[in-house]
Amino acid sequence: MSTNRRDFLKIAGASALTLIMCPILPVCARENLQVPGMESAPAKPLTAKRWAMAIDTSKCPPGCTDCVAACHAVHNVPNIGNSKDDVKWIWTEPFASVFPAENHSYSGQAQQKMRVPVLCNQCANPPCVRVCPTQATFKRADGIVMMDYHRCIGCRLCMAACPYGARSMNYRDPRPFIAKINPDFPTRTKGVVEKCNFCQERLAKGLLPACVLACKSKALVFGDVEDPHSEIRKLIENRFTLRRRASLGTVPQIYYIL
């Protein structure tokens, strides 16, 4: 124990010394720039008043799942391989399931076969946030409905509250089901709920969402709807758009162009 304490004092003394010396010696400060994690030239984060996404399904090539693959690889979303325990952030569904009110028995082949990408709607009035008993799900000032996985108790009230089926529960440890772990993003642990986070971790580093970049046909447009000059704003101003179950008052921020 005594050697340990001596070591400790040595380190403490040395670090106290550096602390005093550093401001005096400019060389020292420059050298410190090499410390990993230190922000030498921080990337400019992308910011917005309200993030939103427009999806032009007419541009989606049939059977394409590039956006799904990109998102799930970046975010360490497991592929458990059974619908019971499955975790999904973005995936595709038949048109009739996504817009049941817009579906009728005379709709053509194209519409019947169409698969529409679905994800968390990042609602401006999110029921999941309203019901969460620990504020593990919360809405940021820029509109992103986000989860604090550290705080989630796994009660799944948010899953009952979400009118879009956008949330997944980790019914078991997801790690064995992740083909290749991306070390830059955490996995989740068993017992917490998860969902799309609009790539907030990428926005903070100045990068667009993974699904948007992965889409070769540019079907996904991401941007600030509060900015009148943004691409997305112009798009949804000029084209007819649909939002999923907008009558529920959740104010979804995913705009579909069909």
Partner: protein, 134 residues
């Protein structure tokens, strides 16, 4: 009858006291060697001035509180930059900052955590780069 009752009470009390003090005397007499923390990682070696985010004494005593604060500030408030007492700035990130230098979790984090019997759940989600590369 009354005597028997007292016997029972004392018997119960003894069991209670033994149970409550169990952690105190359980480890008595045995001694575990103090953990030796390995700082020998490529990144630390290449640093001319080997200094953590804050000074070692502070980090040793308070790293869990610092990480706790980082986690709330980064996740909930979106404040991702930490300014150390000496003015250096870091990203508030366990994997992105701490583990970049201390890339040897098993010879650094684990040794001390095992010694004191702490079981932090950080790594059930956060990824240790050395483990992924394997």
């Amino acid at each position: 009858m009354k005597k028997g009752k007292w016997g029972l009470i004392i018997f119960g009390l003894v069991i209670f006291i033994v149970g409550v003090t169990f952690p105190v005397w359980y480890g008595a007499g045995t001694s575990a060697p103090a953990p030796v923390l390995d700082m020998d990682t490529p990144v630390i070696k290449s640093m001319p001035n080997k200094k953590c985010v804050e000074d070692t004494a502070f980090i040793r005593a308070h790293h869990m509180k610092l990480l706790d604060a980082w986690r709330d500030e980064a996740v909930r408030d979106g404040h991702r930059e930490y300014t150390a007492k000496d003015g250096r700035r870091f990203e508030k990130s366990l994997t992105g900052t701490c583990l970049q230098c201390h890339s040897n979790k098993s010879a650094f984090c684990d040794r001390c955590h095992n010694y004191v019997g702490a079981k932090p759940s950080c790594f059930s989600c956060h990824i240790v780069p050395e483990e992924v590369k394997k």
